[in-house]
Symmetry: C2
Subunit: 204 residues, 2 copies
């Protein structure tokens, strides 16, 4: 095994460092967050930090740095209170990844990719059409992370659109069945092909 002490991190070039540290946490969720600004311009951006916060109330969180490309997403959520979380599947990988490019706020990533916006159930933020799992989200609260000046955005799930084939009898959503991707590091996309479910565990 190789041992890398944190003292060495500062000696690495920028790209090596961000590749290394971004790979450390393990697989990450692969999502497109859709928003619309108050003057009607749609935005969609790739995120790898969407995380389960709790089931009751049903809430998810994600991290963003308002000084980067995620600024538009953050501003739109703060203005409108609404956003969508859409799962990235195998056939839209390249377009989803392209939304990481730094476009100005007056340009919609929907116009620069083959991704298509979709409106459903009178929800005002755009979903990504054909995503096998689409969540309608409402902003709840945010936390400023002092240690590195990022923001944890927490929202509640107000509605779930899910492909019939993925939803099992016990509520489990089988992500592998829809070729949904996981993110490794900054630019790696893995598409698991099957899932093993294990039983509820009790002390033995």
């Amino acid at each position: 095994m190789t041992y890398i002490d944190s003292n060495a991190f500062d000696t690495f070039d920028h790209l090596y460092r961000i590749n290394l540290i971004n790979s450390c946490s393990g697989y990450k969720s692969a999502n497109l967050i859709g928003t619309k600004c108050s003057n009607g311009i749609e935005n969609v951006a790739v995120f790898s930090s969407v995380t389960h916060i709790g089931s009751n109330p049903a809430m998810l969180g994600f991290f963003c740095r308002p000084t980067t490309v995620t600024r538009n997403t953050y501003n739109n959520i703060k203005t409108t209170g609404l956003y969508t979380i859409n799962h990235i599947h195998e056939s839209i990988l390249e377009d989803a990844h392209h939304t990481s490019a730094k476009y100005d706020s007056h340009i919609s990533e929907f116009d620069k990719t083959r991704l298509i916006s979709e409106y459903k159930k009178e929800f005002k933020a755009p979903f990504v059409k054909n995503a096998p799992l689409q969540l309608a989200m409402k902003f709840v609260e945010e936390y400023h992370i002092k240690a590195n000046d990022t923001i944890l955005v927490i929202g509640k799930i107000v509605g779930i659109h899910v492909d019939n084939e993925l939803l099992k009898d016990d509520g489990f959503i089988d992500l592998a069945k829809a070729n949904i991707a996981a993110i490794n590091g900054l630019d790696g996309y893995a598409v698991p092909k099957s899932t093993t479910r294990l039983e509820y565990q009790r002390p033995k």
Copy 2:
């Protein structure tokens, strides 16, 4: 597609609800967090919420609910300031999952599974032996999430042990090469077999 409005969540039985909501975020990291309490008892527990916070400083976060099985992990981190994050790979799936059983704090999950603790580089918290990626972590700060009474624990990476074969020339760690798992929902484990890396994106 099936549409599930949040008003329906309260009508579901408990298991259906937690399966559904825990599957919503997409794939999650599969980690074992190792700690040791002040009187020397080791603890190891499975977590699916380890998330990248930032590269400079190098920090990761995870969520825990101090009233559940994650209580021992949280208490040990608060007491000692130290913990390890170890990646779950295919050959330890069952043992890793078993650490979700509710053992009393005086019982070590290392004694109830085939998982073996390991100490390296004078770090005081136990690593999980043979994990292809092992992180030495130091507590930085915590945030109480008001919306559901959970805690976001943030730590900095003080050292990385990584299998030589996984570490690429540009710092990327290839998780698929070590058969590292991703978690789907509460009890689903998927092991991606390959990763596609895409280029850095600029506006077009």
